[in-house]
Amino acid sequence: MKADVIVIGGGHAGCEAAAAAARIGVKTILVTHKFETIGQMSCNPAIGGVGKSHLVKEIDAADGIMARCADRAAIHLKVLNSSKGQAVRATRAQADRELYKKYVQKELKNLDNLEIVEGEVTDFDIQNNQIGSVTVGEGKILKAQKVILTTGTFLNGKLFTGMDNNEGGRVGDNSSKKLAAKLRSIDFSVGRLKTGTPPRIHKESINWEILEEQKGDVPRPTISFLSDQSIHPEQVSCFITRTNEKTHEIIIGDLDRSPMFSGKIEGVGPRYCPSIEDKIFRFKDKKSHQIFIEPEGLNSDLIYPNGISTSLPKDCQEKFVRSIEGFESAQITQYGYAVEYDFFDPRELHETLETRKIKNLYFAGQINGTTGYEEAAAQGLVAGANAALSFLGKDPWTPGREESYLGVLIDDLVTLGTKEPYRMFTSRSEHRLILREDNADQRITEKAYKAGLVSEGRYKIFSEKINKIIKEKGKLAKLFLRPEDEKIYSALKIKEPKSATSFLDLLKRPELDFYDLARAFSIEIPENDIVFDIETNQRYSGYIKRQMDEIEKMKKNRNAHIPSNFDYSSVKGLSAEITQKLSKVEPKTLAQAWRIPGITPAAISALMVCLKRNEKETADKNARGSIREP
């Protein structure tokens, strides 16, 4: 068998990678242990949230599958930050695990160029630092032009519950030891990370009456630009409870039986998603921690208590869970555990996510040190698209950090690397007011369409939306409030304008919203997304302009190009340590070099001076032209 692109792994990165390559139109094979685990949500049953939903919307804008499937599986939807400014709003969906998986599998089955092969990848054939084929199981060889590795936590995965530990990538699934050994034999820099999950509790064993209920939003938001509410399944509520002093006492008493505190786990966990024992240990003053009770699905008997991930021994888990309000007679159906796994230093990747060391081999997802479905899917999309584009000999598709969170994610990874599981936050972006959820399509769809990722149907809908916005804006720019329009401004409860002011300019005032204005002017109100777009862009126009100027400056900075194979040891005044760091990352531009941790302002100025001198020397040489020196 052979394929243009082979994707190894059927998690969120693998699915998005396979779908992207297939959409571009190359022959793609997805290899996974078991077909039925494709699209499995191994951690909490939710998609989106601040920063993460921005990624999902961008994936959607490139016609990826995550958002559409999440909408079809969404059993509880909320807009976070809804009382704050438009720029920071974010959508989050609780998803029915079974439904989500089902729709992902359906999407993949429907793709023309994609074939799915079940089995474990045991070996690669690498010659001259270039990958040629992969071996499945005992000796089935798949020839490939490009290989994308998305093995999640399965590389040398180790599961911990108390002092017991087992090999595995997820409860019930084996880890990929052979592959891990093969990868360790190639000269990649390997690190260990860990992540954890909470115990799962039987629904019927919870005392729901006394718990605080949290209902989903009405009207319900959607995640995909193309979805509407009619595709959502039945909606359910989430609930909230808290740990208490008794809980903390139990956990403190058993800390020495936690593999993390006894030093059995060497991997680094995420700072923002610590285990309950870690939280209690680090924030001793806090008497109580919130637990968000998430439904696992419409037909599931389980709930996911978000906030108490743990690797404490089973008896301790029982004890502390039952000390929590509402969980007094909780039945744990699956104990919490920590997973420790290998990841590879993402600084050894190109922006296309191809490894620097092995040509035609791409890495995406947790293997690069990230955490989260959305972060994984985002990398899958970029790796899948670029593997396919590279196979076709086309230009790569590498969204920049100034235009997308996809760009922020990948630029951070390949430039900064990571010491802990990397998660997206809006504060990682320099341009939060521009990189919004609502305009992800305007930032992504056009270029993704050119790369061949976006269907004609979606592109048509997108173009129509853009045209409507332009038309509507044109109309509103010519619609004026004049000093004589007393009826209008008194209806708006504002002062008489000194001179004619357009509807668009009136939108810049924070106290006026589109709908009030439209009523006062008695004009027809366009669709909600058009209103939101125009209103948001007007409200932030001053800031958007400023950030755009910054982006321009940044681009100029970026253009201060560092030649590949640049010899950093030739730069006067760089310490050995800094030379080593720069040689490792091989930044393409000065701006990229600047963000590498440990690079000092002095080092940057030394580098800048050297680049300028080289540039001048080259220019002088060229100016001398072909006159030969005697």
Binding site: V50, K84, Q290
Partner: protein, 430 residues
Amino acid sequence: MEQAIVACSTPQGRGAISVVRISGKEVKSIIYGLFSLKFDHGTSKVAETSLSEGFNEKCLISCFEGPASYTGEDVAEISCHGNPLIVRALIQKCIKLGAKNANPGEFTQRAFLNNKIDLAQSEAVIDLINASSGAAMVAASKSVSGNFGKNVDKILEKLRKVRILVESSIDFSDQDTNIDFMQINSLFNDFRCLLGDFDARIEEGIRIMSEHRVVVAGPPNVGKSSIMNILSGEEASIVTEIKGTTRDPIYKKIQIKDLQVDIYDTAGINEETRDEIEKLGIDKSRSLIEGADLILEVVDSENKDFSLKKDENILKVFNKSDISDPPKGFSGVVVSALEKRNIGALEEKIYELLSGDGTNALFSARERHRNLVKKAFLEIDSCPDPIDMKNVDIAAEHLKLADIFLGDIKSPMSADDFLGEIFSTFCIGK
């Protein structure tokens, strides 16, 4: 550690002693090669080295093992007799033993690259070397020891307290963080006050470091050039009886007590002249007058009503007291350049006016710092006040930019470092 560098750290020329400094990885072997001496951290030892056939130089060697040294590398300071020939021979020998000549500022650069000092401190080292008054020296040395940096840290700490709350309210709104906007606004006001205070101190820190520029100005032929020559102790300006002799401004560095002063002699202000070259000279005089820290407005009895019409930074000087008396009620200094009469009083007055109350400066500062603080101020002024739910996204932008500007004074902070601060403040993570 990098290859050792060597340089003479004391001024060139003859003196009682000179100090040759070496820093880098070969320092231990160089010290052994020169003196057969074991390199011991924190010690000063006397030993001899042979610099030429039959000539042994006795030196004092102070050893500092990295990282506990100025540059963070192994450092030795060798004090020898202050003869340029000895210094040269000693440096040559160090080079033979593996060192190379240091570039200007390279010791400080290494200290900076090895994180021994921050950008502001390395600037202060240069300021300390160039300080042109006693007060400036004190201020710069406070900055070198980190006083300025500590002030910047204090302000950044305040700002980041606000930012931690503001950013958390955006990125972690679904978490159990209970962000209180009252608290945000009270911290924000604290920060704003502190920044205002800091801005004023920076002004003082810059003023004290600035060079003192004194301009001698007045009508033609009142003896400006003669005064300049007396103050500088040499014939810097040509003195004649002819009006308008001085065309291009003449500049000299002079020392009054512990104060270094740049003094400029200018073309006399003669409104009636038709001479194009003289006119150009007068234009130059005027622009120098505008930028002066102190103007010596020189008049004589024939020009007693002349005035530059300036109220600030002016010291009136009546010259030629040997042939005429000043008008009644003359408030300036009365001198005779010809007979060198009362010049001491003139110097005293110049010193008094220039040195001011600068001894209160808490640190030295630079224009670069002031510009960054001004930019930060602009952000704070355009930040919505009070900060609330609805405007928090916009407030976050202004606060972030203020952080970037202030952070640039020492070294900027990455988004990831900042997230680290959030995580250590709040228990975040469901």
